[in-house]
Symmetry: C2
Subunit: 143 residues, 2 copies
């Protein structure tokens, strides 16, 4: 009956990771918060009986395996969120839009569709930042 846990277990096993209680709790936390991203400190608070070192390692493992991604990194906090199902160890698909509310500090995370319509109605936009990674023309031509 518990399909939620089962799907999380499957997610882990597909990537050759063992389905431990800590990892399942971690993922369940992120899943429950979708589409909002969760800060490290919130994760640490939620998993207060888990050693910090383990959380650091868990995060690193999940980043490597394409299970989570950094949704936003401000000076104060790093926000993490679940990757979409296309992500894997080999490739991450990170074309998305992060919206951080200046009031409640929540970061929500939506996938970008081809036609970028980011005049989100009823959102008061104060800051837009587009970060693009790739290969610049100088590096492109010298290759």
């Amino acid at each position: 009956m518990d399909t939620t846990i089962d799907s999380l277990k499957k997610l882990l096993q597909e990537r050759d990771l063992r389905a431990t209680p800590i990892r399942l709790e971690f993922l369940e936390l992120l899943r429950l918060n979708t589409p909002s991203a969760v800060t490290l400190s919130v994760i640490q608070e939620a998993c207060h009986n888990t050693d910090r070192v383990t959380l650091y390692r868990t995060i690193q493992t999940f980043l490597d395996k394409g299970i989570i991604h950094k949704a936003h990194q401000s000076k104060e906090e790093v926000y993490y969120a679940l990757c979409n199902s296309n992500c894997s160890t080999k490739a991450h698909f990170h074309d998305h839009l992060h919206f951080k509310c200046s009031s409640c500090s929540q970061v929500t995370c939506q996938h970008l569709n081809k036609e970028i319509k980011f005049l989100l109605p009823s959102f008061q936009i104060n800051k837009v930042e587009i970060h693009i990674e790739g290969v610049c023309n100088r590096c492109n031509t010298t290759t």
Copy 2:
């Protein structure tokens, strides 16, 4: 004759900051690298005779006063760049586009014009990330 130094001095004095050699050297470094952003480690290397603590404090002061901004923060490095002239202690205008080359790791920083044309020719784009800050509809309506 030295209008460059003079304009940097003016930039500082307009914000009630003293024009010390360290600050001028710092700003000159960023200015020379425009439109590329400069990492903290590069700054530290360039200002190797300056105490680390002083650099930390200088960066914090400049961020507060709207003289510089973080162009991009990856896991490894924070990149800083000069703000445009519209920024001040009161308000930052941070609508810009950061492009990080996967090959040379350079981050370049361009202001966004209203019509977002980010299909930069001759740039091979691997990752697009849009970060928007503002007030979400939930916080907006409860105000």
